[in-house]
Symmetry: D3
Subunit: 302 residues, 6 copies
């Protein structure tokens, strides 16, 4: 008899033949308000059985793409630096193996670990961030590393005008001031995304999706819900439009499943992740045509 293994629905291919590697970074150690994002990876995998692998939006089936789900990393709670370094190391390996990393947070700070790895390989890296919060503080209660400072830390290594921020509707006055000179911020909506393809579409881009960009009515299960966000269909359209960019890595973060006992927030995250993976899988497939077959063991878990 075989053992059951855990994966996001349809992402049951072997590492070796995978183009895309999904993994979880269950860390919420700097969360200032309500922790719980550490459970997101587990919840997303488990609840993914409630959706289909087929996307009627893209007319494609997720199970047709070579994706490996490596499960959640085992991270040392209470040691922020080691956490970031383990994420960096894991992402590094995926990139070195010429695969595309897709990380499930965890709080937003986990993005820093992945971007550090990405920027080593792609020094001119651009970052597209969908988020309710600017995350541009220089420190939070004296700490440099926090989910409230993550974009500032990324700016430290990416430099000016490399971070494209969309949907931002919360921050202190200094963050909005900082954004004027140092990032490219589109407040309140994702509208501006349409107009940035020209410059970016040949550049390597890291995409970071903080799910609290969604209106809390759509995704109540997050640590710092911020009213006035975007609807699901706006996010879906934006994610579908990402195919015009050269995404080399991405993450989806800040789902805190325990705050939404209906399970809807997790279902929303699953559906967006499916669409994102199909977008990425299609692109990868087109860019790097190569042969691969479903392996013997590539059947969905029973």
């Amino acid at each position: 008899m075989n053992r059951k293994f855990e994966c996001f629905i349809g992402c049951d291919k072997e590492y070796e033949c995978a183009d895309i590697v999904l993994f979880g970074a269950p860390f919420d150690g700097t969360t200032s308000y309500r922790p719980g994002t550490r459970f997101a990876g587990k919840a997303i995998r488990s609840e993914s059985n409630g959706i289909e692998t087929y996307s009627p939006y893209q007319g494609k089936d997720l199970s047709e793409f070579p994706i490996f789900d490596g499960g959640d990393l085992e991270l040392p709670f209470g040691n922020t630096k080691r956490v970031l370094s383990e994420i960096e190391k894991y992402t590094d390996r995926i990139l070195t193996d010429n695969k595309l990393p897709v990380m499930i947070g965890g709080e937003h700070l986990v993005t820093l670990g992945a971007v550090r790895a990405a920027i080593k390989k792609y020094p001119g890296l651009h970052i597209i961030q969908f988020d309710a919060h600017a995350d541009l503080r220089d420190d939070f209660l004296g700490e440099k590393f926090s989910h409230a400072t993550v974009m500032r830390r990324i700016w430290d290594i990416s430099g000016d005008k490399k971070i494209y921020q969309f949907g931002i509707r919360s921050g202190d006055g200094y963050e909005f001031e900082f954004a004027k000179s140092h990032t490219i911020m589109h407040k309140f909506s994702l509208e501006g995304l349409k107009n940035i393809d020209a410059g970016l579409n040949s550049e390597p881009v890291y995409f970071s999706l903080d799910l609290d960009v969604l209106d809390p009515s759509v995704l109540p299960g997050t640590g710092t819900p911020e009213a006035g966000g975007i609807q699901f269909c706006e996010l879906l359209q934006a994610v579908l439009s990402l195919k015009k960019f050269n995404i080399i890595g991405c993450d989806i973060n800040e789902l805190s499943p325990g705050y939404d006992q209906s399970g809807v927030s997790t279902a929303v995250a699953c559906k967006i992740l499916r669409e994102l993976l199909i977008v990425l899988g299609t692109k990868v497939n087109t860019n790097r045509p190569r042969t691969w077959g479903r392996t013997e063991s590539s059947h969905p878990p029973q």
Copy 2:
């Protein structure tokens, strides 16, 4: 002293003088993912006290219509065939008595029982389905009777192009393929409803409302929430527009009240049911003018 009896608000008339008969089919035995729709009828009746009988949308009061609420059927858990047969039998009696059946599910499979009865009386029956899911699988884990196959089973008896599907945004690739030749499917929205009156409005129509057609932000309390659905006002407008059809029976299903502890999902279901009943009551009243009076016992329960 009188006993209190249970009914949906305002639906307190005697069976004999009723034009419309409301009843519950508390079955969730084939639900693949999260059961609980069995509690919908009870919850809807109980929470209906939180809304008014008057509709400001239609300028009419539900309590003015002769509607009998027969409560929930007592169904044998664990025996799907007997369940369907009891629903069929009960619907049959209502139709034989020239009344209009309105069933509260239960999972979507209960529709099959009611449609079997309806199609006996109206052999050319059309079905209008609002739903997030196509429900067109031929079997589910080897079972022919399931809430994931219900529309396929109805197609078995209705034949091609009799099922009008709206709002569909989930299914496997084969279901969408099947729909192309055998049903009339409008994906993602209810928009298409506007354009189908010409052909249908003299034909007998059964209307089946799977509440998960609503966006999960509006109705989180359902077994398989599917992001990207319609808003309440779109559903309300669509329900109001049903007056142009010759509805001979209908149901409202897949509310699973336990998954939404705020009670909002049940409140949404109550309001839609009130509007639907007033639409039907008005139509019936117009079509078959006849005398009836509020009976002695028709006061609302204290």
Copy 3:
């Protein structure tokens, strides 16, 4: 060592130098359906730490305005008349001290206490009400004082055509009939607000925000959720537009935090309250320019 004190984020100024006085009226004694609004003040203060003091919509920071938060009144449960009289007395004092009262309910009936005080000072007072429910019943189960009769009781003292009602989508037939002759009712939306500035903008206005005007998907945490409401952004725009009126007092009521375990409803209330306070603070500042300084003790609580 100093004691910690409780206040809405940024509202930490001393009473003496404050232009605006925030206070809670934790009463839900006439709530017919689901009680719990008594906990709103406490929840709003506590959860306000989850939002920023800075508004990116208005480009201003709440902490710059001289606002005192007096905490919740201590009200005698079970004695509706004494409750109303204590609210009136407290509001009276604030108005006498030439400050602007902002009350956090409690159920909607608390508005009556505040309006009684306001109408003594401003006899021709107009009232702007955002609400899902007309609240125009003459009595409820024989009781004259209830959250279902509050606007009728206010009409008793304000007279005809002084109450502007927006967003109303629930009531019995008599209430809608009554509104035709006695109030100015805009059903379903806040649209009509745009067109009433001409007549009202020099008159004293009391603004009462029943949060159930919001769609229950946005604010599930309320006692009588009523589907078909407005979205957050519509409410935000309307609140921002209030700056054209001469608001002399206001309240925000019917949040029942316990019905929304995600905390989102409270977060929504916090954000709207922040925006409302900045609107009021800006106006007061403009109208009555005067010197004030942050007092020694005006630092935010640690």
Copy 4:
């Protein structure tokens, strides 16, 4: 077709032939801390379907006793005096018809209404109270009528040494002082109940069961949970031992079902109520032998 009616399981006899009349008093208007007991009657009736009518402890079946369930009274929220007067009136009628009233609260204050009626018929009435709280305050925040003063108000009309208090483990110092001279208080447990039969067993006794006498682990669903209470089996034994007393009326109060989402608290209340009703039914049957038959309509609701 017949309408479904609502009753506690097995209590489906007609009023006329009933020995015992069950009814609900859904009032929580003076609850100082967490309201919600108004929903107890409804919850108890609904969840009673989860238990059997047969008691293996007493070897008898509840459905064999002539008990009528009159449902919940309709009480005017916000008017404490009218509420008490309506409870008194209803209890009065039951007693006048020589039936035994069994009331489901609501908060503990409802007991005052019932005792007022009982003491008119039985002037030397004794009261047995199981409770975590002494309820002997003279006023609460200035109000004489409150669930924290109810036993003091009953003492006003019963006089000294008529109230037997068991399980008390909370109160202020003055209440415990008051009890020394005016009531018979057994702190912390129900142990003392064994020793009081001699004096009381021919006297008329009203029994009031505040469910918070139970440990909160057994019954978390109550407004003011008080650690250190009794276990279920101790309460069960005590209730079974009540058969030695001449109980002429009783109530079970302070269940607040919404605070226990597992439903266990309500299930506990249902089981105790079943046992209590069988104790009372057996006693009544023995004391007043008379003919009665199950009426035509006495079948349990489907």
Copy 5:
């Protein structure tokens, strides 16, 4: 990179070298009241990470025993007969391979499938049942196969006086009557277990643990909570005492994790399961000494 696999903590050995095979039977299709036991297997595996593998009660570590966790069976919802047959088939194979089956329900009816397989191999099989409910009805709402009839169906094949029932505190009068002649029933507690070793300890015994035998304060997460149950330590002692019997198969059922949002019920089930597995593992080890080694892949999942 390796895939993560799912198992109960410490039960990560290969099937081939395992003495004990753990598997889930996620079926709740005949549950009359509140479904949800289908989620028990998944919850138990997931939450088992919250406990240790080491038992301070037995001084042994679960990870030292050769146990394979086969995950949940995939069962066809809505078809009770096929469900029972698949459980029987799977149990059959385990027994044929001379391993000891340990099943995680699901509702109690799943026991019938496993006992059918066991009784084929061990025709004189005895059954020890810990349960709050007798489960001896002949039918439930006309259905022969139900979690309320399971012990009656087992009696059909085991014959008289083979079923030892402990802790029973609910049933109708006929069930208790039936038990007198046909089973060996110990009401209310597990006390009697001490006295039955003499006769049974060389006979093959199947042990079925319905977790609702526990008091609902200990395990609120079950479909039909029944007050007056046993405490955790009584159950633990009873489970430890099972080592005197010749257990050839067992199950643990009726955990419904969704009804206990604290997660405590699942934690209780995990701990009892750990102790039970160590008892069984120790016995098997003693009875059938043989060599086995931890396989290469026997490390706990990361």
Copy 6:
């Protein structure tokens, strides 16, 4: 008008005249399983209004003792070392001012900060720990500082046989082995406490109460519930018996209020804390008689 301040009920005295200083350490950064203890201090203060200040167990009133509640410390999430150092610093100051520190956790690791300060002042310090878990690991996932290693870290500074552990029922084999030589461990219950007074009662003792020593039925609101714990009354008796020791500091930790939506866990913590404070207050009063008066500002918050 005065501002409301936040404190545990009855602990409203000024710092200067206080004998005891209560404060919160809202840290849960190393929690391996389910975070949330950071909210304990806030919840305990807020819910303390649901209990009385008077103890019927001790016949004393908490409000009579000079206790200052300093609120929650502001701790830097994500930096475990700084957190411990801030706790140490704050405790240090309290001890230096000759007051007794009582800390509300937070996770159990916070005890290390307080003990570091205490051991500086009292080098031969003994520690009494009530806990379900041994907390004696040397590291957890490679981290030395964790709530699973806290007692090991304390042992690093206290040396052998200074830590008295009671109620321990979980740990790995190595921890139990370690305890044999290095601590004094009483497994499963608090029984042994009776016998240790002789040696300890003149020595300085730090008391650390991990609330998960309670059975999860009593306190479900904790991160790692461990079945088989002690009942409330056992804990209460043990706390009352602490008066024989020379307690110089203490803490109460691991309440995670969000996991128990009934609020019962917090109510249990409040009651134990009240009793503990009265025990400590009585002792301090006796040991160090001195004059103090209720200050002007010592009225309870309104």
